[in-house]
Point group: C2
Chain length 320, copies 2
């Protein structure tokens, strides 16, 4: 069964003198915001700096002056933005970034990136870029075009793994797997010691975890099924330095890296990406909002033949 793991993502910064997202808004507000894109809140954790909601489709993180929502599957994330604007007014927004990864079952989506941007641009003038070629992994970024300038210390990292090893897929699709089993398999205590965790094991498989420590966050979403596996990591801790451990666990046939404001991208990837991977795309762009964005897609070249994938053409098979 195919599941569209590819995420859409919105980050909204607010004017701090107007509103504290953490203190002035109730859980009901966030619950409704999440419902609007056709997802639900499953659970939450929090500390002084941040509140993290685990969703039926990915995650929502709220800090005092900004929030970040990622949704996968067939969600319509722009509807959540519209709700935010309806409730709080467009002038509350200091800066908005909307991001959407290329999908593999895009005809099942309620909208395409073009539709989304047309909706957003009614409220927020902005610019749109594509990172990566049309015919390979790529990510669309729309950002508000206003006076806002990003602080160079505002760094975030995304890592997307595709076609994880058969061993990893077998392990992560075992019936009866517990959250603890998956935490251990993903070596979360090595990757993020001291982080507070909140996770969920989906039926028949799939796993999501939110992790926070002070103002730091990591979220991991696992679509483990063989043939269309996908594991995404997003964090404001340096994921490029964690690549060797992540690759050892998942052994993906391909992975993408996306970073905001990592000025040492080339040095870090040279150091941490093993030579057996080659880069298909390598993009660097400074946006008009000041963000330095890097995108890279790596693949593992193959020498030997493998078989074609037989598809089940009976019933409502989503693999087709």
């Amino acid at each position: 069964m195919f599941f569209e793991g590819s995420e859409k993502k919105v980050e909204i910064l607010v004017h701090q003198n107007q509103l504290s997202l953490l203190n002035d808004l109730s859980d009901d507000f966030w619950s409704e915001l999440v419902n609007r894109c056709n997802a639900q809140i499953l659970s939450s954790i929090s500390n002084d700096k941040c509140k993290a909601f685990l969703l039926s489709e990915s995650s929502l993180f709220v800090w005092d002056d900004y929030f970040l929502i990622l949704t996968c599957g067939e969600t319509n994330l722009v509807n959540s933005v519209k709700y935010f604007i309806e409730e709080l007014g467009v002038n509350t927004i200091k800066h908005l970034t909307y991001q959407r990864k290329n999908e593999y079952f895009s005809h099942a989506q309620p909208s395409c990136f073009g539709d989304d941007v047309k909706q957003l641009a009614k409220y927020i003038p902005g610019r749109a870029m594509r990172f990566g070629a049309m015919d390979s992994h790529h990510t669309f970024v729309f950002h508000q075009d206003n006076q806002f300038k990003a602080c160079i210390d505002d760094k975030t990292y995304e890592f997307f793994a595709y076609q994880i090893s058969q061993d990893a897929s077998n392990h992560l699709t075992k019936p009866g797997l517990t959250a603890h089993d998956i935490r251990t398999f993903l070596k979360l205590d090595e990757l993020i010691p001291d982080f507070q965790l909140d996770d969920f094991v989906f039926e028949p498989y799939g796993y999501s975890v939110n992790a926070i420590y002070d103002n730091k966050y990591l979220t991991v979403h696992v679509t483990p099924q063989s043939d269309s596996s996908y594991v995404s990591f997003e964090s404001n801790i340096n994921l490029i330095e964690l690549i060797p451990i992540i690759l050892q666990i998942l052994e993906p046939a391909s992975f993408d890296l996306l970073s905001y404001n990592e000025t040492e991208f080339k040095t870090l990837t040279n150091k941490n990406v093993p030579n057996r991977y080659v880069s298909q795309s390598l993009i660097q762009q400074t946006l008009t909002n000041g963000f330095l964005v890097n995108f890279a897609n790596y693949i593992l070249p193959t020498q030997g033949f493998s078989s074609a994938t037989e598809l089940d053409i009976s019933g409502d098979n989503h693999e087709l």
Copy 2:
């Protein structure tokens, strides 16, 4: 402007004692068959063995006992198959193969491969396979599952080039370009000397050519626009041997090869694919109809950074 060059393709073999496709069916029949998928016949050429129709969206080739139709854009090729069955009966069909490449603007398509196969399977029991990973270039193949066994001499080849060089794209999008200019640029007299040609230059750009010689055919379809360029070749002459010339002309960042019944696939690709390309997918599968199918996707690894692609978000821009 984005154009979906990715093709759908149907090959139907008929029982020879029942019908000569070449002699017993009028051009009006083929014209209606083409109209049914939402394309039109532009022109045709023929010889004793074969008739080749150039279409508004790709090509149709008719031989005595089989025909082959390729369509790109937003066509619904299954409707053409339905017309054939309505007019001539399903028992006329000795064997059917339906093939569909992964698309890059699939939410604009009238159907997905799964929809198509569900329609076809109402008339023709069959099996479906995917060649290539979901997250990279791939081609779906549906074939009738009956007593038919392919003859090993029935060889066909497909070559798909992506992201042709800026020089090639600039040349092929020059205003006022003639068919003769493009024939020369594509070195058709070197690739296929002695073939009879029929070609068309589309506005504002795009080029299609059908070429026949005895029972041999080649068809080339060019979507030249920078950023989403795509050039497809399909033939029953050995395209793998022509790779060095084709790569010299187009210098694509990536290309796919698909062959039916090429038993020397590995030897031929080792000889003809330059070392600077690495293979991302390499698939070999013998179908239950006896066809040996090989699929390979090659990419050119990149070292230096390039810029992101700015997208025009005004109006009905199809790039989004």
